[in-house]
Symmetry: C2
Subunit: 398 residues, 2 copies
């Protein structure tokens, strides 16, 4: 049943997006016009529109008073400008991001604020609350959307699990629910950034996307067939913990020589320092590169080669049509990304190599919060109780 629910949720999401998109582009439309333009059957249209009206996203205007011959006058449907917004929050390690999307699924605004790494959840939620209030000018209307999407650091399993408990993750939904009075959907923030890039960012419109983020940690996400891939036990897209050198540096995951020990901010700076380099931050490393430091260029080429090798393994595994690179280390520029592409194309299967595209991420640090919104809009079981409407002919045949 879990599989079928997922399938139905994706199907319904596609239908909802089609209806919302038509209303956004054309303004008010009658049900008949919506049906013709969307290609949806009358039953499906009825079900989708009922759902969108029930959560306040769509309004039905009073029927036009002009006589239109026989039959009922046409009811007109439009987006509800006073309807709720969707809110996403990314609780990153030392920084908190919020984003708001309106009922037409357009980005309304976003904001960020830094904080100490050990700030308690209650205090973080207070910051989020304040940023949301400022962005929405005090008019947060969550009622219609019925959920907040939240990104957090690290793997997110089921509530109560050991790995979540150790980070007090179980407290997050509780505290947020208490403050906003709506359910909370939660996932790993890097995976959420992958989903957001596939909707609003560098991979908009792509169905099969590999997202890799090279930052203080190294992680990623896979969008397969248009949906976030989660894996059997909620662990997937952990590209940072693919082993590059079994004899390499110890990694926080308990293994050795993971990509993260090589291609994270710390990994790059460690290698630089071990080779006698003097830069102590990524910024000063980039300054050295721009001043023509050949050692820095060679180091970044080696790091890029390792990243490309891992990406090639992932591409041979899942066959994406687009690779998106994000995070501070990728933002260093061509000195890193060109060796990445070179190694990727050298080690991927010929059929993949020829067609694969590589792009820089576009959403920056707000990606995780936007991904939280995507979770609410596209993947919420609350919004996807299809088939919610009663079977239309149930009462007619018995």
């Amino acid at each position: 049943m879990a599989e079928q629910e997922g399938v139905l949720a994706r199907l319904r999401r596609g239908h909802e997006e089609r209806v919302l998109d038509l209303l956004r582009r054309h303004g008010a439309l009658s049900r008949g016009e919506l049906g013709r333009r969307s290609g949806l059957s009358r039953t499906t249209m009825h079900d989708i529109v009922s759902g969108l009206m029930a959560n306040g996203a769509v309004l039905a205007s009073a029927p036009e008073r002009v006589a239109r011959g026989r039959g009922r006058p046409a009811e007109s449907l439009s987006l509800n400008p006073a309807a709720g917004q969707a809110i996403g929050i990314d609780f990153a390690h030392r920084r908190l991001h919020v984003a708001i999307v309106n009922v037409a699924h357009e980005i309304v605004g976003s904001a960020s604020e830094g904080h100490a790494a050990d700030l308690p959840w209650q205090r973080r939620v207070e910051i989020a609350d304040r940023l949301i209030g400022e962005l929405s000018e005090g008019e947060v209307r969550l009622g219609a959307l019925k959920a907040i999407g939240v990104g957090v650091v690290g793997p997110v399993g089921s509530p109560g699990e050991e790995s979540a408990a150790s980070r007090q993750l179980d407290a997050v939904p509780t505290v947020l629910r208490k403050r906003f009075g709506v359910p909370v959907l939660m996932d790993n923030n890097t995976r959420l950034a992958a989903l957001a890039e596939s909707i609003w960012g560098a991979a908009a419109g792509c169905q099969d996307v590999l997202y890799l983020r090279l930052s203080h940690g190294v992680g990623g996400g896979l969008v397969l067939g248009g949906s976030l891939h989660r894996g059997a036990h909620g662990v997937s897209g952990e590209f940072g913990h693919i082993t590059v050198d079994p004899a390499g540096r110890p990694c926080r995951c308990g293994s050795r020589g993971c990509l993260e020990t090589i291609a994270s901010v710390k990994g790059v700076l460690d290698a630089h320092r071990e080779a006698g380099g003097r830069a102590r931050s990524l910024r000063s490393l980039v300054a050295a590169l721009e001043a023509g430091d050949a050692d820095v260029r060679d180091l970044l080429a080696r790091v890029g080669g390792h990243v490309g090798l891992v990406l090639a393994a992932v591409c041979n595994t899942v066959g994406p049509d687009l690779v998106v690179l994000g995070g501070e280390v990728a933002e260093v520029g061509g000195a890193l990304t060109e060796p990445v592409e070179h190694a990727l194309r050298a080690h991927a299967m010929p059929m993949i190599r020829r067609r694969l595209r590589v792009r820089q991420a576009r959403l920056g640090e707000i990606g995780g919060a936007l991904g939280g919104i995507a979770l609410v809009l596209h993947e919420s079981p609350l919004l996807a109780g299809y088939p919610a409407a009663p079977d239309p002919d149930e009462g007619l045949r018995s």
Copy 2:
């Protein structure tokens, strides 16, 4: 639309399997009983049963003549014992396999025959035809199933593509269609074996399966969310071409040090010979192992370590709940598979490591042919034209 068709096809397949399973287990049932036991809505049940009756899989008996109070007498539905079988053919490199499954999706029989590697397609199809005739005792009834599922060696893209043309793959559907008069569905035979293991084999009932085959070639397949994962351009599961050693032996894919150069039959024997070993076949290598040859044991441990490292990378990427190992090299036994499991668990993320199960493949060399059948039964667009039935209330409201 392609995504939605896939979603709908999977949904319909689940419904069809539920109805066929109920009829297989309970014999004849009325529509009402089927509805109650399946939990499907009246509309959906009507649509699914109509489809199964149209392709001959299900028969409606004459209504019982016993008076049952008011209303129509109950029509009884049952599997059609004279209905068509599903046929799968695996055109492996030097050997051809056929399998037949009945209308209840039970395996009826299978057969194999060796041939020269360069045998023309026309001649291979003649062998397949003869084997099918023998298995079905001359009573091949393909009409009801309307397609044959076929596995072939190597990547399968769209018809007319360069890589397919070079192997004359485009001829296969043409020759088969000419002989059997039905459409032909085709995919890579190793990916099909992965699908078959997830339905009839070691991974029966699992939704997220990683299948790795170590044979003359090294390949595999991913079943994600219960469906064969294909990748954006039809290339995925190419675990044999993940780079293990960028400075290693040249591989037929154009790269170097791919897993296939290390863990295929030839890769293992090459390494054995280079180290001064005398075995010239996998069989004699196993004999040496059983006679206590420590060099052979060490070699297999090294090979297993590389296999485990690649599997860990794939597991960190997609997070399967089961790994299935198949092929002659995996059949060597614990001297290979124990080091595989050891390295896999050492390099996979902790949350994956704790829950992952590893099993030997169960379907052996017939897996590819069975996977061809799975393609027809579960993934055929011909059998999944959902929603095929007209909108039931279309005529009632206008």
